[in-house]
C-alpha cells in the first residue's frame, strides 16, 4: 500500500479534474435524458461521487485533511437524501402506479 501510493506522483492534478468533469457531465446527461425517477436519482448520486473524488484529490494536493472531512459529511448527507428520496418515490408509485416523472408535471404550475 505504501509503495503503491508513493509511486502516484506521476498523475497530474488536471487529469483528476477532467475525469470528474466527465463523470459529472454523464450524471447531468442522465438527469436530462431519462424519465424513470430512480434512474434520475442514480444520476444525482453519480454527480455527488464525482465531486467527492475531486475534493479528495484537492485535499491530497494541498495536504489538508479538511477536504476529506467534507467528503465524509457529503456521504452522510447522501445517505439521508437517498432514504427520504426513495420514500417519496415509493409514495408516488403508490399513488400513481408509475414512476414516470412526467406524471408529476402538474408540479410545474
Amino acid at each position: 500500500m505504501e509503495n503503491l501510493t508513493t509511486q502516484m506522483a506521476g498523475v497530474p492534478l488536471n487529469h483528476y479534474i477532467y475525469l470528474c468533469a466527465i463523470i459529472f457531465t454523464i450524471g447531468v446527461i442522465g438527469v436530462l435524458t431519462r424519465r424513470n425517477a430512480i434512474v434520475i436519482f442514480m444520476s444525482v448520486e453519480l454527480m455527488l461521487n464525482a465531486v467527492n473524488l475531486l475534493l479528495t484529490a484537492f485535499s491530497v494536493h494541498s495536504n489538508d485533511p479538511s477536504g476529506q472531512v467534507f467528503v465524509f459529511f457529503i456521504m452522510a448527507l447522501a445517505a439521508a437524501e437517498v432514504a427520504v428520496g426513495l420514500a417519496i418515490i415509493v409514495m408516488v408509485y403508490r399513488n400513481t402506479k408509475s414512476i414516470d416523472i412526467n406524471v408529476l408535471n402538474r408540479l410545474k404550475w
Partner: protein
Amino acid sequence: MSTQVFYFVATLSIIFSLMVIFAKNPIHSVLYLILTFFTFTVHYVLLNAQFLAVVNFIVYMGAIMVLFLFVLMLLNLNNETEPSKSPLIKIVGVIAGCCLVVTLVGSFKAASINSPLILKNQGLGLVENLGKELFGPFLLPFELSSLLLLAAMVGAVLLSKKDEVEA
C-alpha cells in the same frame, strides 16, 4: 506503473457510468452503478485516502445500493414498464451534456493546473488523522449530521407509512 493503474481505473469509471445512464433495464443500471462506485473506491485507495475508501465501500456500495435495489424489486420494475423519452429529447440532452463538458474542460485548460499530485504526508487520509480533525475543529458539524440522519430516518418512516383510513 501506478499512473497506468489510475488511467485504467479512470477509463473503467467512465465506461461504467455511461452504462448506468444508457442501460434500458433499471436493475442493470443499479448493478453498473455498484461497479462505478467500486472503481471510485479504487481511486480513493490510490490517493491513500483509506478511511474514505472504507466508508465509500460500506455506505455507498453496502447501504445505499441495497436501498436502491430493494426499492426497484419492491416496485417490480422491468423493461416493459420503463418509460422512455422521445429520441429528439435524448439527442438534445446528449448535445447539451457535450457542450457542458467542452466548456468545463476548456476553462480548466485555461487555468492549466498541471502540477503532479504528490502525497506529502503519508498519513493524511488515515483514520487517526481524520479522527483528530473530525472530533477537533469539526465536532459541531459532526454532531449536527447525526441530527440530520435522525431527521431523515423519521421522515422516511413517516412518508412511507400507509395512511390510516380517516374515520
